[in-house]
């Protein structure tokens, strides 16, 4: 009964999204598409942070790897489909390569290694002018075509991204609900017990990091044709930190969290244009308040309010189940 209701809600949400661009101007559709792309990358961060309990400071770098891979392949005449999977595949492989040594040692070290990696990637993009165009960036990135029709019109491209984002979201949903994915949950709840039950903690964490990074790559492959121009700036360390914050604000470890978090990061600044320069201040304060009073994020907050109204008695139980990954050091 509950899952039937959830499916109906998802169907309504997707339909509403599909119809949304009809009433919107070109820029609004652009922002809405950017939100979807950001949410895909945030889904990856959520897998790493919310499910595997690690910290990644390199999601923007993976976004960059994906963006440059797909843009360069597109310029070389490779079809988009191939470029898209190459972007994800390369990110996955790099994720494995840097995650393997980092996860060998103790907690937080993945954060340190991804931080260094993030700066490396930015330097390579900036310095290797022959490949990436350096600081001047890559211009005139073509949007792909589908069945012979160009996706250059903003609405068509939005629907294209929506379809891909929906597919990637479904894949992630399947992943975290498969027996394989349940191991993550076990890991999150109690790593020691999970290990004693035969879950290879390191292998699962590594795979979670690699898959999460691949989502960054996929998002990048969509980002490049969306903006039609890429340069090193959006792939630096700062934006990687923002990815981490947005997932946490949305609700790390909850499935809808990345979408809500990406909305706060991408859509809200547009609506709050009058707040302009104060936006980041408000955002940062929100993160701190959220962490102090409701570490389950906006989704957790909504859930809490909902159960408060419906089933006051079960509130405590719900809250306990949703508690963030690792509650203790």
């Amino acid at each position: 009964m509950r899952s039937g209701l959830a499916w109906a809600a998802v169907a309504v949400a997707v339909l509403a999204l599909a119809l949304a661009p009809l009433g919107l101007g070109r820029y609004d559709v652009y922002i809405l598409t950017l939100w979807l792309v950001t949410a895909v990358a945030a889904l990856g961060v959520n897998l790493i942070v919310g499910y595997a309990g690690q910290e990644t400071l390199a999601q923007a770098a993976f976004l960059g790897i994906g963006a440059y891979t797909s843009a360069l392949l597109a310029k070389a005449g490779v079809p988009f489909g191939l470029a898209f999977f190459a972007a994800g595949g390369i990110s996955f492989a790099i994720g494995l390569a840097i995650g393997f040594p980092a996860l060998r040692v103790q907690k937080h070290y993945l954060a340190f290694v991804t931080l260094a990696f993030s700066v490396f990637v930015w330097l390579v993009i900036r310095n290797e002018e022959w490949l990436t165009g350096g600081v001047m960036g890559l211009k005139d990135i073509e949007r792909p075509s589908l069945f012979g029709a160009s996706l250059r019109p903003h609405r068509l491209f939005f629907w294209f991204v929506l379809a891909i984002a929906a597919a990637l979201t479904f894949a992630m949903w399947w992943l975290v609900r498969s027996p394989w994915g349940r191991a993550f949950t076990a890991l999150r709840e109690n790593p020691v017990r999970a290990e004693s039950l035969g879950v290879n903690v390191r292998r699962y964490t590594l795979l979670a990091f690699a898959i999460g990074s691949a989502y960054g790559g996929f998002a990048g492959a969509l980002y490049a044709p969306l903006v039609e121009f890429i340069d090193p700036a959006p792939f630096a360390l700062g934006p990687s930190l923002l990815f981490l914050l947005m997932v946490v604000v949305g609700g790390s470890g909850s499935f809808a969290g990345p979408f809500v978090g990406a909305a706060v990061a991408v859509l809200l600044p547009e609506w709050l244009r009058f707040a302009e320069s104060y936006y980041l201040l408000i955002y940062a304060a929100l993160v701190i308040l959220m962490m102090a009073f409701c570490p389950t994020g906006l989704v957790g907050l909504a859930g809490r309010l909902w159960s408060l109204r419906r089933r006051p008695a079960r509130m405590a139980e719900d809250e306990g189940a949703r508690a963030l990954g690792e509650a203790k050091p």
Binding site: L115, N127, L237, G238, L241, L280, V287
Partner: protein, 297 residues
């Protein structure tokens, strides 16, 4: 050779400032498992306090510098501990770490909105003169920075090793449980480390601002350097942070000048300290001078 010596001294001078920031970093980690991603902003901000005192209230520089240290101790020490760390540590390490990232953003954008987005001059405590030491031209300012930073570090080391409060702090850092049984007022000691961290950051800020200029975004570079220094030196050792800071300062300067010799373009200069970081994590995760940490999960 003269160049090399000059680079070495320049590197040590900035390295000593990184060390000040890195020490606070390790102190917070030891006493309260706080990885403070806002550490760079903690070094950026006190110079703004001094600027406000000088330009908004017309106070003399020496007084403004003292006020800057005072404000830092209160806001970045006491208030940070009571308002941010205490409520958040209850939620776990991850929420706290993420909150410090947000605190960094808050301080950075706060300084930008409240003061200005532009860079500002900052008066130097030391005269702007060159002295000739064995044929090497060395600036007095650089020597002064080095001397003050090293004196602060030496005072801290003495405090930790020779005073009763210092030893209690160390005991708290090593094992709060045992320290409590031995009668150490653990809470007070933890608070003291936050105050110390803020004071060290303020000293670093006053020393580095004449060279770096005062700008809201300065924390990005400084934070990264302190972070690398702390990990390279050893995350759980004060002397590790000192060695790490000096090492990062020197390596960064040598990399800037000599990276061409090993076939690396100077445009990859920033990568050199980070490569060191990765090597340390791979081969000596406890840091160059750190000790192995045995913690339950």
């Amino acid at each position: 050779m003269a160049d090399f010596l000059q680079l070495l001294i320049a590197g040590l001078a900035t390295g000593a400032i990184y060390a000040l920031a890195a020490i606070g970093f390790t102190l917070l980690w030891q006493t309260s498992q706080t990885i403070n991603f806002a550490q760079g902003e903690f070094v950026m901000l006190p110079a703004f306090f001094a600027l406000v005192a000088m330009h908004w209230f017309g106070l003399p520089f020496w007084l403004s510098a003292l006020i800057a240290i005072g404000c830092a101790v209160i806001l970045l020490g006491l208030v940070f501990k009571l308002v941010i760390v205490d409520p958040l540590i209850r939620q776990g390490v991850l929420p706290l770490v993420i909150s410090t990232i947000a605190v960094g953003l808050l301080l950075k954008d706060g300084a930008k909105e409240a003061y200005s987005a532009e860079a500002h001059r900052f008066p130097s405590i030391f005269p702007d003169r060159l002295v000739d030491v064995l044929g090497v031209k060395i600036s007095l300012a650089q020597l002064g920075v080095l001397a003050v930073a090293l004196a602060a570090i030496a005072a801290l080391q003495w405090f930790l090793a020779a005073t009763s409060t210092g030893r209690q702090m160390q005991a708290t850092a090593q094992n709060p449980g045992v320290a409590r049984i031995l009668g150490v007022r653990v809470e007070r000691m933890v608070m003291l480390t936050f105050v110390l961290n803020a004071a060290l950051a303020a000293v670093a800020s006053l020393l580095i601002s004449p060279i770096y200029l005062v700008k809201f975004s300065n924390g990005e570079t400084l934070g990264l350097a302190a972070f690398v220094a702390a990990i390279v030196g050893g995350f759980n050792q004060v002397r590790g942070a000192i060695a790490g800071g000096l090492l990062v300062g020197v390596i960064d300067n040598l990399a800037g000048a000599y990276s061409g010799l090993i076939g690396v373009s100077s445009s990859y200069r920033q990568a050199v300290p980070l490569a060191l970081l990765v090597l340390v994590i791979l081969f000596r995760p406890q840091g160059l001078l750190g000790r192995r940490e045995e913690r339950s999960v």
